[in-house]
């Protein structure tokens, strides 16, 4: 059980400031996801929390106590690395038990029990005698998670743990992590990803980072329904939100209006806007129609089921009035 508080945290590598003053509170037992584009500082922030990287200025508190100078091993954390970081010369069992065998006060039986319990949770019991190189990527990832569980941490840190897995395994492991969080509801988890689907499905709360700063923190639905900026609106949700500016936006008293593909309907005539179909994608359960209507990027309309629009068709569309997001010139929402 641990709550984590970041107070005006800054981190510079040499002259380059990478984290530019982050204030954030992660609550006890919460699943917090950091998302943001590549290079925005997600991994760095996670490493600051883990203690693997020194904080340049600001304060980091675990349960109200400053831990700026505390060694990683004393923070009660466990970390799952993107590259797994398993010890290549140790078996799965040794990998999972290594940390415990070095700590004082754990009997052999206790260590074995803890390793086996973690192995059972992740269904890697039959691989305990193998070396990491004899495992598949997904199995290695589970060993890395198992090693973290064995430490019985108060805080679980994940740095893009699924990015080396194929699509199917990603979904399966994502579900496993979600289950893990449910079964370990006293453990605070912080999870870094740039995949917004992972963020939406796993998070209690999402922290959107941009260029070393927190852009918005909130539950997935808060971010989806009330994005604090054009950046967040564009980052959360798939397909990406459509942005329309210029005269069409002025009609709504905004610099830019945003409308998600699922909140647009195609109407026979008298639509708010009209456009030419340039491309369609059928995914079976739903389908996307891409319209050219003078915006920077084509407007995407998401339809249930398949559709039979063809390139060149001219269609009329109507956004759902209450789902329109209006933004001012600075990219901030007009409410």
């Amino acid at each position: 059980m641990a709550s984590i508080e970041l107070r005006n945290i800054r981190k510079a590598f040499g002259a380059v400031e990478v984290i530019k003053g982050v204030d954030l509170e992660v609550r006890k037992g919460e699943f917090m996801v950091f998302v943001g584009p590549s290079g925005c500082g997600k991994s760095t922030l996670l490493r600051l929390i883990s203690g693997l990287e020194d904080i340049t200025s600001g304060e980091m508190l675990f349960d109200g106590k400053v831990v700026n100078a505390l060694a990683p091993s004393k923070r009660g954390i466990a970390m799952v690395f993107q590259s797994y970081a398993l010890y290549p010369h140790m078996t799965v069992y040794e990998n999972m038990a290594f940390g415990l065998t070095l700590e004082k006060g754990h009997s052999k039986d206790e260590i074995q029990q803890r390793v086996e319990r973690a192995a059972d949770m992740l269904q890697i019991r039959q691989y305990l005698d193998r070396l990491p190189k004899q495992l598949s990527g997904g199995q290695r990832q589970r060993v890395a998670i198992g090693r973290a569980i064995t430490r019985d941490p108060k805080v679980f840190l994940f740095d893009e743990p699924l990015s080396n897995l194929d699509a199917a395994l990603r979904v399966a492991t994502r579900i496993e992590i979600a289950k893990l969080h449910e079964s370990m509801d006293h453990v605070t988890m912080i999870y870094v990803t740039h995949d917004q689907v992972e963020a939406m499905t796993l998070a209690d709360r999402i922290c959107v980072l941009r260029d070393g700063l927190v852009e918005q923190v909130g539950t997935p639905m808060e971010l989806y329904e009330h994005p604090n900026s054009v950046f967040v609106a564009g980052f959360i949700g798939s397909p990406k939100m459509n942005f329309i500016s210029g005269e069409k936006a002025a009609a709504f008293n905004a610099e830019t209006v945003g409308i998600r593909g699922e909140h647009i309907t195609i109407v026979p005539d008298n639509g708010t806007w009209s456009g030419t179909v340039i491309h369609t994608e059928n995914l079976g359960a739903d389908s996307y129609v891409y319209l050219e209507m003078g915006t920077e990027e084509p407007v995407v309309v998401r339809l249930d089921g398949a559709n039979d629009y063809k390139s060149g068709d001219v269609v009329h569309i109507a956004p759902m009035e209450d789902k329109i997001h209006r933004f001012d010139g600075a990219g901030k929402p007009i409410r």
């Binding site: 091993s73 466990a78 590259s83 970081a85 010890y87 290549p88 290594f98 940390g99 700590e103």
Partner: protein, 326 residues
């Protein structure tokens, strides 16, 4: 199901292509190896066989072609003196030879041990990140880059009892009460040779180990950091097992080198029985004493000893030359 049916023929051809590819590779490998094997046979295999042959003859320097086969005589023979006393002769009962064997083994074991330890320390330092690392890495190679003859001569002057800088320094600092003839005194000759050899070869060792260290992924040290592994434990439980393959190969290179040490001793401590090694003794007999056959017998034994030690080392150390079990 459909995919299964589709996949089968593809997989079959895939397998065949692979085996053909393998055959092609093996054939190519043989052709590439051939020139080297021929060169080796000419410059190493043939001289070796000739040496072995001469060790069973009575060859001398001015009568090499007329050498006659005498069997094991150079190694061991029983001689009946006129007085009737029985004497054993030959290399196997030659005290000078066994002294040289002992010198060589002592030299090899000590120098390789210190080179491995110091080389590991240097490699660990060079593997850390600091400013000017590239320059330091290059600079540390200098002792190894200097030809042995040159560095041996250099050190022999530094160790000189009359004009040597080491004696001078020792006297000025009050560490020595009188000047020491480092290379000429039996007690210090071996130490002097060892110091020079370690000075010279540690960089080579360090470089080989450094190459091994750089293969160790960085992230597992971060995992160890989180696991709370003490740095000293990190070294013994993580670093050492992972560089072991590289270390073992480096040690075997050095061991082979040290067992046939010649130039350093020849220049630094000529004619000192405290340091005379197998190679030095063999050369002396071959060319200075005109006991060509006897010297050949020494060379042959030297070869056998090195071969046996190497095989034992590889077998006991489970050395693998393919980069280890990573």
């Amino acid at each position: 199901m459909a995919t299964d049916v589709m996949a089968t023929p593809v997989a079959a051809t895939g397998g065949k292509i692979k085996s053909e590819l393998m055959q092609q590779r093996v054939r190519a490998a043989r052709w590439f190896l051939l020139p080297m094997l021929i060169a080796l046979a000419v410059v190493a295999g043939w001289p070796l066989l000739r040496s072995i042959y001469f060790s069973f003859t009575d060859a001398s320097l001015n009568n090499i072609d007329g050498a006659e086969w005498i069997g094991f005589g150079n190694y061991f023979r029983v001689q009946q003196l006129a007085s009737g006393a029985v004497r054993y002769r030959g290399l196997l009962v030659d005290a000078d030879w066994w002294n040289a064997v002992w010198n060589t083994l002592r030299f090899a074991a000590t120098s390789v041990f210190f080179e491995a330890v110091l080389g590991m320390v240097v490699a660990l330092v060079l593997n850390a990140e600091f400013k000017g690392r590239g320059i330091v890495r290059a600079a540390i190679l200098i002792p190894w880059a200097i030809p042995t003859i040159v560095s041996a001569k250099m050190w022999s002057w530094m160790l000189n009892d009359q004009f040597g800088i080491l004696n001078d320094l020792g006297m000025r600092l009050g560490l020595l009460s009188q000047k020491v003839a480092w290379t000429a005194t039996a007690e210090t000759a071996m130490q002097a040779v060892l110091v020079v050899d370690i000075w010279k070869t540690t960089p080579f060792m360090a470089l080989l180990i450094l190459a091994g260290l750089q293969m160790v992924p960085k992230d597992i040290y971060e995992a160890a950091e989180i696991d709370g592994v003490h740095p000293i434990k990190q070294f013994f439980r993580i670093t050492l097992p992972l560089v072991r393959p590289a270390l073992m190969v480096a040690i075997i290179f050095r061991l082979l080198d040290a067992l046939r040490i010649f130039d350093l001793i020849y220049v630094l401590t000529p004619n000192s029985s405290a340091t005379k090694t197998m190679s030095v003794l063999a050369r002396e007999n071959l060319f200075d004493f005109d006991k060509f056959a006897y010297g050949s017998a020494m060379s042959t034994l030297l070869f056998l000893i090195i071969a046996i030690l190497t095989i034992v080392y590889i077998w006991l150390g489970k050395v693998r030359f393919d980069g280890g079990d990573r």
